[in-house]
Protein backbone atom coordinates (compact mmCIF):
# COMPACT_ATOMS: atom_id res chain seq x y z
CA UNK A 1 0.00 0.00 0.00
CA UNK A 2 1.36 3.42 -0.97
CA UNK A 3 0.42 6.39 1.25
CA UNK A 4 -0.10 10.00 0.21
CA UNK A 5 -2.07 12.96 1.61
CA UNK A 6 -4.47 13.59 -1.25
CA UNK A 7 -5.30 11.66 -4.40
CA UNK A 8 -6.69 13.48 -7.43
CA UNK A 9 -8.35 11.43 -10.14
CA UNK A 10 -8.12 13.12 -13.55
CA UNK A 11 -5.64 15.69 -14.84
CA UNK A 12 -7.99 18.04 -16.70
CA UNK A 13 -8.31 21.71 -15.71
CA UNK A 14 -10.29 20.85 -12.56
CA UNK A 15 -7.76 18.28 -11.33
CA UNK A 16 -4.73 20.46 -12.15
CA UNK A 17 -6.16 23.49 -10.34
CA UNK A 18 -7.19 21.41 -7.33
CA UNK A 19 -3.61 20.11 -7.18
CA UNK A 20 -2.30 23.68 -7.33
CA UNK A 21 -4.34 24.84 -4.32
CA UNK A 22 -3.03 21.90 -2.29
CA UNK A 23 0.64 21.70 -3.19
CA UNK A 24 0.95 25.46 -2.70
CA UNK A 25 0.17 24.81 0.96
CA UNK A 26 2.60 21.96 1.23
CA UNK A 27 0.10 19.11 1.03
CA UNK A 28 1.40 16.00 -0.78
CA UNK A 29 -0.70 15.14 -3.78
CA UNK A 30 -0.69 12.21 -6.15
CA UNK A 31 -2.54 12.90 -9.38
CA UNK A 32 -3.60 10.11 -11.73
CA UNK A 33 -4.30 10.71 -15.40
CA UNK A 34 -5.25 7.84 -17.64
CA UNK A 35 -3.97 9.55 -20.79
CA UNK A 36 -0.34 10.13 -21.72
CA UNK A 37 -0.89 13.90 -21.53
CA UNK A 38 -2.25 16.18 -18.83
CA UNK A 39 -4.89 18.78 -19.64
CA UNK A 40 -8.05 16.76 -20.28
CA UNK A 41 -10.32 18.36 -22.88
CA UNK A 42 -8.05 21.38 -23.12
CA UNK A 43 -5.29 19.68 -25.10
CA UNK A 44 -7.66 19.26 -28.06
CA UNK A 45 -8.90 22.85 -28.08
CA UNK A 46 -7.16 25.09 -30.59
CA UNK A 47 -9.57 28.03 -30.26
CA UNK A 48 -9.39 31.00 -27.92
CA UNK A 49 -11.49 30.48 -24.82
CA UNK A 50 -14.36 32.48 -23.44
CA UNK A 51 -14.67 33.60 -19.87
CA UNK A 52 -12.93 36.33 -17.95
CA UNK A 53 -9.20 36.86 -17.83
CA UNK A 54 -9.13 35.37 -14.35
CA UNK A 55 -9.84 32.02 -16.02
CA UNK A 56 -7.40 32.64 -18.89
CA UNK A 57 -10.00 33.75 -21.43
CA UNK A 58 -8.73 34.64 -24.93
CA UNK A 59 -6.00 32.02 -24.53
CA UNK A 60 -6.17 28.94 -26.75
CA UNK A 61 -7.22 25.77 -24.91
CA UNK A 62 -3.95 23.85 -25.28
CA UNK A 63 -2.04 26.91 -24.10
CA UNK A 64 -4.24 27.10 -21.00
CA UNK A 65 -3.33 23.47 -20.28
CA UNK A 66 0.36 24.28 -20.67
CA UNK A 67 -0.03 27.26 -18.33
CA UNK A 68 -1.82 25.24 -15.63
CA UNK A 69 0.88 22.54 -15.82
CA UNK A 70 3.66 25.13 -15.60
CA UNK A 71 2.04 26.71 -12.53
CA UNK A 72 2.61 23.39 -10.73
CA UNK A 73 6.35 23.18 -11.51
CA UNK A 74 7.67 25.12 -8.49
CA UNK A 75 5.85 22.70 -6.18
CA UNK A 76 7.12 19.46 -7.69
CA UNK A 77 8.44 18.36 -4.29
CA UNK A 78 4.85 17.88 -3.13
CA UNK A 79 3.37 16.54 -6.34
CA UNK A 80 3.55 13.11 -7.91
CA UNK A 81 1.98 12.89 -11.34
CA UNK A 82 1.20 9.45 -12.69
CA UNK A 83 0.28 9.47 -16.37
CA UNK A 84 -1.10 6.47 -18.27
CA UNK A 85 -2.53 5.55 -14.88
CA UNK A 86 -6.21 4.70 -14.67
CA UNK A 87 -7.99 4.72 -11.34
CA UNK A 88 -10.07 1.55 -11.23
CA UNK A 89 -11.86 1.77 -7.92
CA UNK A 90 -12.38 3.72 -4.72
CA UNK A 91 -12.94 1.58 -1.63
CA UNK A 92 -13.79 2.26 2.04
CA UNK A 93 -11.09 3.92 4.20
CA UNK A 94 -9.92 5.94 1.17
CA UNK A 95 -8.23 3.07 -0.56
CA UNK A 96 -7.75 3.73 -4.26
CA UNK A 97 -6.66 1.16 -6.85
CA UNK A 98 -4.76 2.10 -9.97
CA UNK A 99 -3.66 0.35 -13.16
CA UNK A 100 -0.42 1.62 -14.66
CA UNK A 101 1.59 -0.13 -17.38
CA UNK A 102 -0.34 -3.35 -16.85
CA UNK A 103 0.54 -3.31 -13.14
CA UNK A 104 -1.92 -2.89 -10.30
CA UNK A 105 -1.27 -0.55 -7.36
CA UNK A 106 -3.04 0.18 -4.10
CA UNK A 107 -2.97 3.61 -2.47
CA UNK A 108 -4.35 5.04 0.72
CA UNK A 109 -4.84 8.73 1.45
CA UNK A 110 -6.57 11.28 3.68
CA UNK A 111 -8.79 12.82 1.03
CA UNK A 112 -9.73 12.20 -2.60
CA UNK A 113 -10.79 14.61 -5.33
CA UNK A 114 -12.55 13.07 -8.30
CA UNK A 115 -12.29 15.24 -11.43
CA UNK A 116 -12.85 12.67 -14.16
CA UNK A 117 -14.68 15.02 -16.52
CA UNK A 118 -17.30 13.79 -18.93
CA UNK A 119 -18.04 11.40 -21.74
CA UNK A 120 -19.96 11.96 -24.94
CA UNK A 121 -23.57 11.05 -25.45
CA UNK A 122 -24.54 8.98 -28.46
CA UNK A 123 -27.44 9.20 -30.89
CA UNK A 124 -29.53 6.29 -32.15
CA UNK A 125 -30.24 6.17 -35.90
CA UNK A 126 -30.15 3.58 -38.66
CA UNK A 127 -26.61 2.45 -39.52
CA UNK A 128 -25.00 4.68 -36.89
CA UNK A 129 -22.13 2.19 -36.64
CA UNK A 130 -20.77 2.83 -40.16
CA UNK A 131 -17.10 3.80 -40.36
CA UNK A 132 -16.95 7.57 -40.86
CA UNK A 133 -19.35 8.36 -38.03
CA UNK A 134 -17.54 9.84 -35.05
CA UNK A 135 -18.12 11.60 -31.78
CA UNK A 136 -16.79 15.15 -31.56
CA UNK A 137 -14.04 14.07 -29.16
CA UNK A 138 -12.74 11.50 -31.65
CA UNK A 139 -12.75 14.04 -34.47
CA UNK A 140 -10.79 16.48 -32.35
CA UNK A 141 -8.32 13.86 -31.18
CA UNK A 142 -7.62 12.72 -34.75
CA UNK A 143 -7.41 16.22 -36.12
CA UNK A 144 -5.81 18.29 -33.37
CA UNK A 145 -3.73 15.74 -31.46
CA UNK A 146 -2.58 13.43 -34.29
CA UNK A 147 -3.01 15.62 -37.38
CA UNK A 148 -5.18 13.08 -39.22
CA UNK A 149 -8.14 14.04 -41.42
CA UNK A 150 -11.40 12.51 -40.16
CA UNK A 151 -12.80 12.84 -43.72
CA UNK A 152 -13.03 15.14 -46.73
CA UNK A 153 -16.56 16.41 -46.19
CA UNK A 154 -18.54 16.21 -43.01
CA UNK A 155 -22.00 16.79 -41.56
CA UNK A 156 -22.09 18.01 -37.94
CA UNK A 157 -25.02 16.85 -35.82
CA UNK A 158 -25.63 19.26 -32.93
CA UNK A 159 -25.22 23.04 -32.71
CA UNK A 160 -24.06 23.39 -29.12
CA UNK A 161 -20.75 25.16 -28.55
CA UNK A 162 -18.82 21.94 -29.13
CA UNK A 163 -20.53 21.25 -32.48
CA UNK A 164 -19.97 24.83 -33.62
CA UNK A 165 -16.36 25.01 -32.46
CA UNK A 166 -15.38 21.62 -33.89
CA UNK A 167 -16.98 22.63 -37.22
CA UNK A 168 -14.83 25.76 -37.27
CA UNK A 169 -11.71 23.72 -36.48
CA UNK A 170 -12.62 21.29 -39.29
CA UNK A 171 -12.83 24.20 -41.75
CA UNK A 172 -9.45 25.44 -40.54
CA UNK A 173 -8.01 22.00 -41.22
CA UNK A 174 -9.41 22.10 -44.75
CA UNK A 175 -12.39 19.77 -44.34
CA UNK A 176 -15.61 20.80 -46.06
CA UNK A 177 -18.43 21.18 -43.52
CA UNK A 178 -21.62 20.49 -45.49
CA UNK A 179 -24.04 21.54 -42.77
CA UNK A 180 -24.62 21.73 -39.06
CA UNK A 181 -27.96 20.20 -38.16
CA UNK A 182 -29.87 20.86 -34.96
CA UNK A 183 -33.07 19.17 -33.74
CA UNK A 184 -34.17 22.11 -31.59
CA UNK A 185 -35.75 25.22 -33.10
CA UNK A 186 -32.79 27.43 -32.28
CA UNK A 187 -29.01 27.17 -32.23
CA UNK A 188 -27.74 25.75 -28.94
CA UNK A 189 -24.34 27.38 -28.61
CA UNK A 190 -23.16 30.98 -28.54
CA UNK A 191 -24.33 32.95 -31.56
CA UNK A 192 -20.87 34.43 -32.06
CA UNK A 193 -19.66 30.90 -32.85
CA UNK A 194 -22.63 30.31 -35.16
CA UNK A 195 -22.02 33.58 -37.01
CA UNK A 196 -18.36 32.64 -37.44
CA UNK A 197 -19.44 29.51 -39.33
CA UNK A 198 -22.28 31.08 -41.26
CA UNK A 199 -20.04 33.77 -42.74
CA UNK A 200 -17.81 30.97 -44.02
CA UNK A 201 -20.81 29.61 -45.90
CA UNK A 202 -21.82 26.74 -43.61
CA UNK A 203 -25.61 26.34 -43.38
CA UNK A 204 -27.04 25.74 -39.92
CA UNK A 205 -30.30 23.80 -40.19
CA UNK A 206 -32.54 23.97 -37.13
CA UNK A 207 -35.58 21.69 -36.58
CA UNK A 208 -33.60 19.01 -38.42
CA UNK A 209 -32.27 15.64 -37.35
CA UNK A 210 -30.44 12.69 -38.86
CA UNK A 211 -32.67 9.82 -39.97
CA UNK A 212 -30.16 7.34 -41.27
CA UNK A 213 -26.67 6.92 -42.61
CA UNK A 214 -26.05 5.75 -46.17
CA UNK A 215 -23.25 3.44 -47.20
CA UNK A 216 -22.22 -0.20 -47.14
CA UNK A 217 -18.64 -0.48 -45.96
CA UNK A 218 -18.23 3.19 -45.06
CA UNK A 219 -20.31 6.33 -44.90
CA UNK A 220 -21.34 7.91 -48.21
CA UNK A 221 -24.04 10.29 -47.02
CA UNK A 222 -26.63 11.06 -44.37
CA UNK A 223 -30.37 11.39 -44.69
CA UNK A 224 -31.82 14.28 -42.74
CA UNK A 225 -35.44 14.95 -41.86
CA UNK A 226 -37.19 18.01 -40.49
CA UNK A 227 -38.88 18.10 -37.11
CA UNK A 228 -41.94 20.08 -36.04
CA UNK A 229 -42.02 22.14 -32.85
CA UNK A 230 -42.90 19.03 -30.81
CA UNK A 231 -39.87 17.17 -32.24
CA UNK A 232 -42.02 14.91 -34.46
CA UNK A 233 -40.55 14.04 -37.85
CA UNK A 234 -42.31 15.58 -40.86
CA UNK A 235 -42.64 12.86 -43.55
CA UNK A 236 -41.61 13.96 -47.02
CA UNK A 237 -38.90 16.35 -45.76
CA UNK A 238 -36.08 13.81 -46.08
CA UNK A 239 -32.93 15.06 -47.81
CA UNK A 240 -29.66 13.32 -48.53
CA UNK A 241 -26.38 15.11 -47.95
CA UNK A 242 -23.33 13.43 -49.47
CA UNK A 243 -20.39 13.21 -47.11
CA UNK A 244 -17.72 10.75 -46.02
CA UNK A 245 -17.81 11.71 -42.36
CA UNK A 246 -20.44 12.63 -39.80
CA UNK A 247 -19.72 14.04 -36.38
CA UNK A 248 -22.17 13.51 -33.52
CA UNK A 249 -22.05 16.26 -30.96
CA UNK A 250 -25.18 15.96 -28.89
CA UNK A 251 -23.87 16.66 -25.43
CA UNK A 252 -21.79 15.29 -22.62
CA UNK A 253 -22.58 13.24 -19.54
CA UNK A 254 -20.60 13.37 -16.28
CA UNK A 255 -18.16 10.45 -15.85
CA UNK A 256 -19.75 9.26 -12.63
CA UNK A 257 -18.78 5.55 -12.60
CA UNK A 258 -16.05 5.69 -9.95
CA UNK A 259 -18.35 7.62 -7.62
CA UNK A 260 -21.31 5.33 -8.22
CA UNK A 261 -19.14 2.28 -7.56
CA UNK A 262 -17.89 3.83 -4.32
CA UNK A 263 -21.47 4.05 -3.10
CA UNK A 264 -21.69 7.85 -3.15
CA UNK A 265 -25.25 9.24 -3.06
CA UNK A 266 -25.99 10.08 -6.67
CA UNK A 267 -28.90 11.58 -8.55
CA UNK A 268 -29.90 11.94 -12.18
CA UNK A 269 -30.01 15.67 -12.85
CA UNK A 270 -30.80 16.44 -16.50
CA UNK A 271 -29.53 20.03 -16.20
CA UNK A 272 -26.11 18.59 -15.30
CA UNK A 273 -26.11 16.15 -18.20
CA UNK A 274 -26.68 12.92 -16.24
CA UNK A 275 -25.85 11.21 -12.96
CA UNK A 276 -23.99 13.40 -10.48
CA UNK A 277 -23.09 13.17 -6.79
CA UNK A 278 -25.25 14.99 -4.29
CA UNK A 279 -22.35 17.01 -2.91
CA UNK A 280 -22.26 19.59 -0.13
CA UNK A 281 -21.56 23.30 -0.56
CA UNK A 282 -17.90 22.43 -0.11
CA UNK A 283 -18.03 19.83 -2.91
CA UNK A 284 -17.79 16.92 -0.46
CA UNK A 285 -19.83 13.85 -1.33
CA UNK A 286 -21.66 11.49 1.03
CA UNK A 287 -18.37 9.54 1.26
CA UNK A 288 -16.45 11.37 4.00
CA UNK A 289 -13.32 12.98 2.52
CA UNK A 290 -14.28 12.36 -1.12
CA UNK A 291 -14.65 15.62 -3.08
CA UNK A 292 -15.62 16.43 -6.67
CA UNK A 293 -14.79 19.21 -9.13
CA UNK A 294 -15.33 20.03 -12.80
CA UNK A 295 -17.56 18.39 -15.39
CA UNK A 296 -18.03 15.24 -13.27
CA UNK A 297 -20.10 17.48 -10.98
CA UNK A 298 -22.26 18.83 -13.79
CA UNK A 299 -21.31 19.69 -17.38
CA UNK A 300 -20.12 23.26 -17.63
CA UNK A 301 -17.08 25.01 -19.02
CA UNK A 302 -13.35 24.98 -18.51
CA UNK A 303 -13.68 28.38 -16.88
CA UNK A 304 -15.88 26.97 -14.13
CA UNK A 305 -13.88 23.70 -13.96
CA UNK A 306 -10.78 25.79 -13.24
CA UNK A 307 -12.48 27.75 -10.47
CA UNK A 308 -14.12 24.63 -9.01
CA UNK A 309 -10.72 22.94 -9.06
CA UNK A 310 -9.01 25.71 -7.10
CA UNK A 311 -11.96 25.79 -4.70
CA UNK A 312 -12.11 22.06 -4.04
CA UNK A 313 -8.37 22.07 -3.30
CA UNK A 314 -9.01 24.76 -0.69
CA UNK A 315 -11.97 22.86 0.77
CA UNK A 316 -9.81 19.77 1.10
CA UNK A 317 -7.08 21.72 2.89
CA UNK A 318 -9.77 22.98 5.27
CA UNK A 319 -10.86 19.41 5.80
CA UNK A 320 -7.27 18.42 6.60
CA UNK A 321 -7.22 21.06 9.32
CA UNK A 322 -5.58 23.95 7.51
CA UNK A 323 -7.48 27.11 8.23
CA UNK A 324 -6.48 30.71 7.66
CA UNK A 325 -7.85 34.12 6.76
CA UNK A 326 -6.08 33.85 3.43
CA UNK A 327 -7.80 30.57 2.57
CA UNK A 328 -11.14 32.10 3.49
CA UNK A 329 -10.64 35.15 1.33
CA UNK A 330 -9.52 33.01 -1.62
CA UNK A 331 -12.63 30.87 -1.20
CA UNK A 332 -14.79 33.99 -1.21
CA UNK A 333 -13.10 35.28 -4.37
CA UNK A 334 -13.55 31.99 -6.25
CA UNK A 335 -17.18 31.87 -5.15
CA UNK A 336 -17.73 35.30 -6.59
CA UNK A 337 -16.11 34.22 -9.89
CA UNK A 338 -18.36 31.18 -10.14
CA UNK A 339 -21.39 33.31 -9.42
CA UNK A 340 -20.55 35.69 -12.25
CA UNK A 341 -19.82 32.85 -14.67
CA UNK A 342 -23.18 31.27 -13.90
CA UNK A 343 -25.37 34.35 -13.64
CA UNK A 344 -26.27 34.79 -17.34
CA UNK A 345 -28.82 32.95 -19.50
CA UNK A 346 -26.27 30.24 -20.36
CA UNK A 347 -25.77 29.61 -16.63
CA UNK A 348 -29.45 28.88 -16.08
CA UNK A 349 -29.05 25.11 -16.35
CA UNK A 350 -26.27 25.10 -13.78
CA UNK A 351 -28.31 27.26 -11.41
CA UNK A 352 -31.28 24.91 -11.74
CA UNK A 353 -29.05 21.85 -11.31
CA UNK A 354 -27.54 23.28 -8.13
CA UNK A 355 -31.05 23.96 -6.78
CA UNK A 356 -31.93 20.31 -7.38
CA UNK A 357 -28.77 19.20 -5.59
CA UNK A 358 -29.80 21.32 -2.61
CA UNK A 359 -33.28 19.78 -2.57
CA UNK A 360 -31.82 16.28 -2.84
CA UNK A 361 -29.50 17.03 0.08
CA UNK A 362 -32.46 17.87 2.27
CA UNK A 363 -34.16 14.59 1.37
CA UNK A 364 -31.19 12.35 2.11
Amino acid sequence: MIHTDVIIVGGGPAGLCAAYSLVKQGVSVTLFERNSKLGGQLVKQTHKFFGSEKQYAKTRGFDIAAKLIKDLEPYSAFLTIEKNATVLGIYPDKVVTVMKNEAYFKYQCKAIIVSTGAMEKVLAFEQNDLPGIYGAGAVQTLMNVYGVYPGQSIVMVGSGNIGLIVSYQLLQAGVEVKAVIEAASSIGGYKVHASKLRRLGVPILTNTTIKKAHGVDFLTGVETIQLDESWKTIPGTEKTIQCDACCISVGLAPMHQLLSMAGVHMKYIPEFGGIVPIASDTHETSYDGLFVAGDVYGIEEASSAIVEGYLSGLYVSNKLGMKSEEINSQIADFHQQLEYLRSGPFGKKTRQGLEKIKEARNVT
Partner: protein, 160 residues
Amino acid sequence: MLHKTGIPTIEQVKDQFPEQSKLSKPKAIIECYEDIPCNPCETSCPFQAIIIGPDINQQPKVDFDKCTGCTICVTSCPGLAIIVAEVHHPHAIIKIPYEFLPRPQKGEVWHAVNRSGEIVGDANILQTLVSRRQDRTLLVSIQIDSSLVYEVITIRRKHA
Protein backbone atom coordinates in the same frame (compact mmCIF):
# COMPACT_ATOMS: atom_id res chain seq x y z
CA MET B 1 -33.14 35.01 -37.46
CA LEU B 2 -29.80 35.08 -35.61
CA HIS B 3 -30.84 32.29 -33.26
CA LYS B 4 -31.92 30.04 -36.15
CA THR B 5 -29.33 30.77 -38.83
CA GLY B 6 -26.43 32.58 -37.18
CA ILE B 7 -27.10 35.59 -39.44
CA PRO B 8 -27.95 38.92 -37.75
CA THR B 9 -30.45 41.25 -39.42
CA ILE B 10 -29.20 44.38 -41.16
CA GLU B 11 -30.88 46.45 -38.42
CA GLN B 12 -28.92 44.58 -35.74
CA VAL B 13 -25.73 45.22 -37.67
CA LYS B 14 -26.41 48.91 -38.25
CA ASP B 15 -27.17 49.41 -34.56
CA GLN B 16 -23.56 48.51 -33.77
CA PHE B 17 -22.16 51.30 -35.96
CA PRO B 18 -21.73 54.93 -34.91
CA GLU B 19 -23.20 57.68 -37.09
CA GLN B 20 -21.39 57.97 -40.44
CA SER B 21 -19.56 61.19 -39.44
CA LYS B 22 -17.66 59.32 -36.71
CA LEU B 23 -16.48 56.75 -39.26
CA SER B 24 -14.02 59.19 -40.77
CA LYS B 25 -11.79 57.73 -38.06
CA PRO B 26 -11.47 53.97 -37.45
CA LYS B 27 -13.94 52.63 -34.89
CA ALA B 28 -14.54 49.22 -33.32
CA ILE B 29 -17.78 47.54 -34.36
CA ILE B 30 -18.83 44.78 -31.96
CA GLU B 31 -21.40 42.17 -32.89
CA CYS B 32 -21.96 40.31 -29.66
CA TYR B 33 -25.74 40.09 -29.46
CA GLU B 34 -26.16 37.76 -26.55
CA ASP B 35 -25.50 37.69 -22.81
CA ILE B 36 -22.54 35.31 -22.56
CA PRO B 37 -19.97 35.06 -19.75
CA CYS B 38 -17.05 36.69 -21.54
CA ASN B 39 -15.04 39.91 -21.33
CA PRO B 40 -11.61 39.87 -23.03
CA CYS B 41 -12.72 42.73 -25.30
CA GLU B 42 -13.22 44.97 -22.28
CA THR B 43 -10.05 43.96 -20.47
CA SER B 44 -7.87 44.18 -23.59
CA CYS B 45 -8.87 47.73 -24.61
CA PRO B 46 -6.11 50.12 -23.54
CA PHE B 47 -8.48 53.11 -23.78
CA GLN B 48 -11.38 51.78 -21.65
CA ALA B 49 -13.59 52.24 -24.68
CA ILE B 50 -15.46 48.94 -24.18
CA ILE B 51 -17.74 48.56 -21.21
CA ILE B 52 -19.16 45.31 -19.88
CA GLY B 53 -18.88 45.78 -16.12
CA PRO B 54 -18.49 43.34 -13.23
CA ASP B 55 -21.26 41.07 -14.48
CA ILE B 56 -19.38 39.59 -17.41
CA ASN B 57 -22.62 38.33 -18.97
CA GLN B 58 -23.57 41.85 -20.04
CA GLN B 59 -23.13 42.71 -23.72
CA PRO B 60 -20.19 44.96 -24.57
CA LYS B 61 -20.85 48.62 -25.46
CA VAL B 62 -18.35 50.79 -27.32
CA ASP B 63 -17.75 54.40 -26.37
CA PHE B 64 -16.93 55.70 -29.86
CA ASP B 65 -15.45 58.92 -28.48
CA LYS B 66 -12.84 56.93 -26.58
CA CYS B 67 -12.20 54.29 -29.26
CA THR B 68 -9.05 55.06 -31.26
CA GLY B 69 -9.48 52.15 -33.65
CA CYS B 70 -6.24 50.58 -32.41
CA THR B 71 -7.59 47.04 -33.23
CA ILE B 72 -6.31 45.37 -30.07
CA CYS B 73 -9.80 44.11 -29.22
CA VAL B 74 -10.24 42.61 -32.71
CA THR B 75 -7.76 39.81 -32.18
CA SER B 76 -8.54 39.46 -28.46
CA CYS B 77 -12.17 38.48 -28.98
CA PRO B 78 -12.54 34.67 -28.93
CA GLY B 79 -15.83 35.02 -30.80
CA LEU B 80 -14.21 36.88 -33.73
CA ALA B 81 -17.07 39.30 -33.24
CA ILE B 82 -15.20 42.60 -33.61
CA ILE B 83 -14.00 44.52 -36.68
CA VAL B 84 -12.68 48.06 -37.04
CA ALA B 85 -14.28 50.17 -39.79
CA GLU B 86 -13.67 53.58 -41.33
CA VAL B 87 -15.18 55.26 -44.35
CA HIS B 88 -13.48 57.54 -46.87
CA HIS B 89 -15.90 57.72 -49.78
CA PRO B 90 -15.90 56.00 -52.20
CA HIS B 91 -13.96 53.45 -50.15
CA ALA B 92 -14.20 51.92 -46.73
CA ILE B 93 -11.37 50.23 -44.87
CA ILE B 94 -12.16 47.41 -42.51
CA LYS B 95 -9.83 45.41 -40.34
CA ILE B 96 -10.89 41.86 -39.69
CA PRO B 97 -9.64 38.88 -37.69
CA TYR B 98 -8.69 35.91 -39.88
CA GLU B 99 -7.61 32.39 -38.87
CA PHE B 100 -7.17 30.46 -42.12
CA LEU B 101 -4.40 29.46 -44.48
CA PRO B 102 -3.18 30.58 -46.93
CA ARG B 103 -2.58 34.03 -45.54
CA PRO B 104 -3.76 36.91 -47.69
CA GLN B 105 -0.89 39.02 -49.03
CA LYS B 106 -0.75 42.77 -49.50
CA GLY B 107 -1.79 43.75 -53.02
CA GLU B 108 -3.98 40.69 -53.65
CA VAL B 109 -7.67 40.98 -54.45
CA TRP B 110 -9.95 38.58 -52.56
CA HIS B 111 -13.71 38.22 -52.48
CA ALA B 112 -15.53 40.36 -49.93
CA VAL B 113 -18.07 38.15 -48.13
CA ASN B 114 -21.22 39.04 -46.16
CA ARG B 115 -22.68 37.58 -42.95
CA SER B 116 -24.51 34.85 -44.89
CA GLY B 117 -21.30 33.68 -46.53
CA GLU B 118 -22.16 35.23 -49.92
CA ILE B 119 -19.69 37.07 -52.13
CA VAL B 120 -20.73 40.72 -52.41
CA GLY B 121 -17.72 42.39 -54.05
CA ASP B 122 -13.97 42.72 -54.07
CA ALA B 123 -11.63 43.22 -51.16
CA ASN B 124 -8.21 44.77 -51.80
CA ILE B 125 -5.77 43.45 -49.25
CA LEU B 126 -3.93 46.46 -47.79
CA GLN B 127 -2.04 44.80 -44.97
CA THR B 128 -1.75 41.54 -43.04
CA LEU B 129 -0.48 41.71 -39.48
CA VAL B 130 0.43 39.00 -37.02
CA SER B 131 2.19 39.80 -33.78
CA ARG B 132 2.81 37.69 -30.73
CA ARG B 133 0.05 39.43 -28.85
CA GLN B 134 -2.45 38.41 -31.52
CA ASP B 135 -1.71 34.76 -30.72
CA ARG B 136 -1.92 33.48 -34.30
CA THR B 137 -5.08 35.39 -35.24
CA LEU B 138 -4.26 37.50 -38.29
CA LEU B 139 -5.42 41.08 -38.59
CA VAL B 140 -6.21 41.83 -42.22
CA SER B 141 -6.91 45.37 -43.50
CA ILE B 142 -9.07 45.42 -46.58
CA GLN B 143 -10.38 48.16 -48.80
CA ILE B 144 -13.92 47.78 -50.10
CA ASP B 145 -16.53 49.93 -51.79
CA SER B 146 -17.99 52.20 -49.10
CA SER B 147 -21.52 51.11 -50.03
CA LEU B 148 -20.61 47.68 -48.64
CA VAL B 149 -19.53 48.85 -45.21
CA TYR B 150 -22.55 47.33 -43.42
CA GLU B 151 -22.30 44.13 -45.45
CA VAL B 152 -18.74 42.84 -45.51
CA ILE B 153 -17.57 40.73 -42.59
CA THR B 154 -14.87 38.47 -44.01
CA ILE B 155 -12.89 37.54 -47.11
CA ARG B 156 -12.51 34.46 -49.31
CA ARG B 157 -9.69 33.66 -51.68
CA LYS B 158 -10.47 33.84 -55.39
CA HIS B 159 -9.77 30.63 -57.24
CA ALA B 160 -7.01 31.07 -59.76
